[in-house]
Amino acid sequence: MSARNIGIVYRKELLEAVRDRRTLISTILVPILLFPILTVGIGFVIAGLIIQADREPARIMILGGNDSPDIVSELVKSKNLIVVSKPANYVELISNKKIRAAVEIPPGLESGAGTNYPPVKIYMYSGDLKSTTAAKRIQEFFSDYRDSLARDRLTAQKLPASLLKPFDIKQQNVVSEEKVAGETVGGIISYLVIIMCLTGAMYPAMDLTAGEKERATMETILSSPISRTHLVFGKFLVVLTASLVTAALSVTSMGVSSWVFQHFQQQSSGPALHIKIGLGAVLSVFLMALPLAVMFSAGLFTIALFAKSYKEAQSYISPLMIVVVVPAIAAMLPGVELTPQLSLVPILNVSLLCKDLITGTYHWNAIALIFLSTCVYGGAAIFIAVRMFHRESVLFRS
């Protein structure tokens, strides 16, 4: 194995990749811009919509309540609620978003004649943010009314108000912020690293194989004295570099974007979600992703090598995205946890393990098993790539 020859090919291919606008866009620009747009951009838009929905008074309708004038009057006076007085078809009005919710007050609610009232019904448009907010406000109003009614009745019976609430329930987090962050965003980060390792490798893998055939430079390089094995390694390392650079830039960009988003959120509306992830955890995720990136790079390289043109390579490689996305997403599903059997399933194993690593949990046996098995898969993929590059039927497919 000649490191010199591999280095010559690597430098040349890297130089060409850096000069290629399409590679720069897919490897550098997309990962840098994607997350600020997704987190800061979309995050601000969503936060803005929530704040607006929270501040805006909701138009609601009262159904019934003729014998509960005080309740109706309190509702009308209620902040952030505008009661539409004109009776109409509330279902249609809610569906057309003319009003956000309607509340049906059962007869005799205010007089408190019985103990088994029919429920207070709130009609709403599920999934609509403003309707949900309006329904929540009505719910809060009637919860408060119910509590005050109960308190009054207890007082009338000369019973303490604490009878209603004999004890408090309080939840307290006992794990570190890193573990909380791992559970919250660990799956997303693992998914991101895996997907970006794949997408970063895609374009260079196609360019260095099918692209070379298309540009008729394959025969030029094959006529040089370099061995085909060295040529594969030089090219493969460029694909791997692109894969890792894309993944690293994605995570960095996501980290910076999240920090900026949290910072602004804290400044604008008080307490925000704290996501604290240690650098060590992120580095261990990268370490685990390394053999996976090797597997992706060599796999994509081999598949693209079969194609005669860049376009043909794209049609081979695009379906591969699904093959990778499914196990990567499966790891994010609740209840899917690392087992000895799953430790051998490529992609899914790394994805599940990375989730644990971000929470700061290190199961060393699983780490060793997954790292070694992924190294074996990666090694096998490189071996196949080298074999394919020696086959005339693949290189000169017509």
Binding site: N5, I8, V9, K12, L15, E16, R19, D20, R215, A216, T217, E219, T220, L222, S223, S224, P225, I226, S227, E392, S393, F396
Partner: protein, 262 residues
């Protein structure tokens, strides 16, 4: 020197089954002379030259190129060969100088030698004014010169040209023809494939006529003219191929081939 010994190449095609592209071809090219492999499209010229350049591996037989066996020592063979064809394009995102440097390094040249070689070649081929221009911005003539520089950078003793003037305009083709002559003058072993008769007449010291993968005739232009009692090389070529086709396939096919080559 190139010494082809019973070279054969068979491909497997899904529709057509096994295809014999080159069958038992043997010939010798001497240093300081140009060997012209003459044949129609699909005759087996490119496959033969690709085998000599070790881009393809022979199914049977072998060849010695500058004393190295193409089957057992393909990397040594490639170090001794400069291979130029219309299918050997340039890397579009490299400059002319980077392109030549890359191949110099792959051929094991150290940086000092490489710089000297590149300066010499660029001066000789008048390439200095576009040495830092990207290959995708070069004119056809400039590309040809860069390709020539790429094949010459390691000063190979053997030059292989596969239809080097195919698709080129007159000026670019003249550059190539002049370069091939220079190679002969420099004492290099030169093998050239073409189906352009005028090129063969102008350049070749020895001609091998190849058809359907077989070498049908071989000799100097003078020997061939005497043997086939024809002055025109094209007529000689048609005569040889037609005789072969008549002997091996149905007469109506022979007539068709005659029409095709003429």
């Amino acid at each position: 020197m190139i010494e082809a010994r019973s070279l054969s190449k068979r491909f497997r095609d899904k529709k057509r089954g096994q295809i014999c592209a080159v069958e038992n071809v043997s010939f010798t090219c001497e240093p300081g002379s140009i060997y012209g492999l003459l044949g129609a499209n699909g005759a087996g010229k490119t496959t033969t030259l690709r085998m000599l350049a070790t881009i393809l591996e022979p199914t049977d037989g072998t060849a010695l190129v500058f004393g190295h066996d193409i089957v057992t020592h393909p990397e040594k063979v490639r170090s001794s060969v400069g291979f130029l064809s219309t299918a050997t394009a340039l890397y579009p995102r490299l400059t002319a100088q980077e392109m030549v440097e890359y191949f110099g390094r792959l051929n094991g040249l150290d940086e000092a030698t490489l710089k000297k070689r590149i300066d010499d070649i660029f001066d000789r081929l008048d390439m200095n004014f576009f040495r830092d221009r990207r290959c995708d911005k070069l004119s056809t003539g400039m590309k040809q010169k860069t390709s020539i520089a790429r094949t010459l950078v390691h000063d190979p003793p053997v030059m292989i040209f596969d239809e080097p003037t195919l698709g080129l305009d007159i000026m670019a083709a003249r550059t190539i023809v002049a370069f091939i002559r220079e190679c002969r003058q420099a004492g290099k072993t030169v093998i050239l494939s073409t189906h352009v008769m005028s090129e063969v007449d102008k350049l070749c010291d020895v001609i091998g006529i190849i058809h359907n993968g077989s070498l049908l005739a071989e000799g100097t232009p003078r020997q061939l003219r005497e043997k086939y009692e024809e002055k025109d090389l094209e007529e000689i070529f048609v005569k040889i191929v037609t005789a072969h086709v008549t002997a091996h396939v149905a007469p109506h096919t022979a007539a068709h081939v005659t029409a095709e080559v003429s």
